[in-house]
């Protein structure tokens, strides 16, 4: 995928990545972190979290609205590609901090699905019902016309 990307720095253990979003609100530090999940189903499942570093702390629910969402998400995609090239057996779980954020992630995946599927098997996890953030207990191959609360990607 050829798209404008930000420069990325990481910690030595490759769990945490930092880049600088540059847009109409100025420069905002973005942090991506992969965190190991409990081993109920897969021993190699990791949560991908994205947030802003504001006033010396993380804001995971902030709507940055810096006008550079494509570049930010392409950078997150590049980080995921890199991370799974280093740890190819790790499954990556992604859930938005709200339904709106999950919808945004889903839309970005839908719009780039063919490109993403060159490197990843992509699965969607639906909401259990319309009233809660609870998710169904299984992931199925991602389909563009479905509504998902979370996405799971596995490197091919």
């Amino acid at each position: 995928m050829k798209q404008e990307l930000y420069e990325i720095n990481s910690t030595e253990d490759l769990s945490t990545y930092v880049f600088l979003s540059k847009g109409r609100k100025g420069e905002i530090v973005k942090i991506v972190q992969f965190t190991h999940l409990r081993m109920e189903v897969s021993p190699d499942r990791y949560n991908l979290a994205l947030g802003d570093w504001i006033d010396e702390k993380i804001d995971a629910g902030n709507i940055t609205n810096n006008g550079d969402i494509k570049t930010v998400m392409a950078t997150v995609g590049a980080i995921t590609l890199y991370y799974t090239s280093q740890f190819p057996l790790r499954e990556i779980f992604v859930a938005g901090s709200s339904r709106n954020r999950s919808r945004l992630y889903q839309m970005l995946v839908s719009n780039n699905l063919e490109e993403i599927e060159k490197d990843f098997d992509v699965f969607g996890i639906r909401y259990f019902n319309n009233r809660s953030d609870e998710l169904e207990g299984f992931a199925k191959p991602f389909q563009k016309n479905e509504t998902y609360g979370a996405i799971l990607v596995i490197r091919k």
Binding site: Q3, T16, L37, E40, R45, I79, K140
Partner: protein
């Protein structure tokens, strides 16, 4: 600058090492543990 995502160079920055071992997103991790850890994969649509 347009770059190829597959050729992206990611620099290890030792100044970030104070972040190692810290869960910066405990609420997201808790949510993922609650719903994501038990998700089984079905390959049929």
């Amino acid at each position: 600058m347009v770059k190829d995502a597959k050729k992206t160079v990611i620099k290890v920055d030792s100044r970030l090492n104070n972040l190692i071992g810290k869960d910066l997103f405990p609420e997201k991790t808790a949510h993922a543990n609650k719903y994501g850890a038990a998700v089984k994969i079905r390959n049929n649509k």
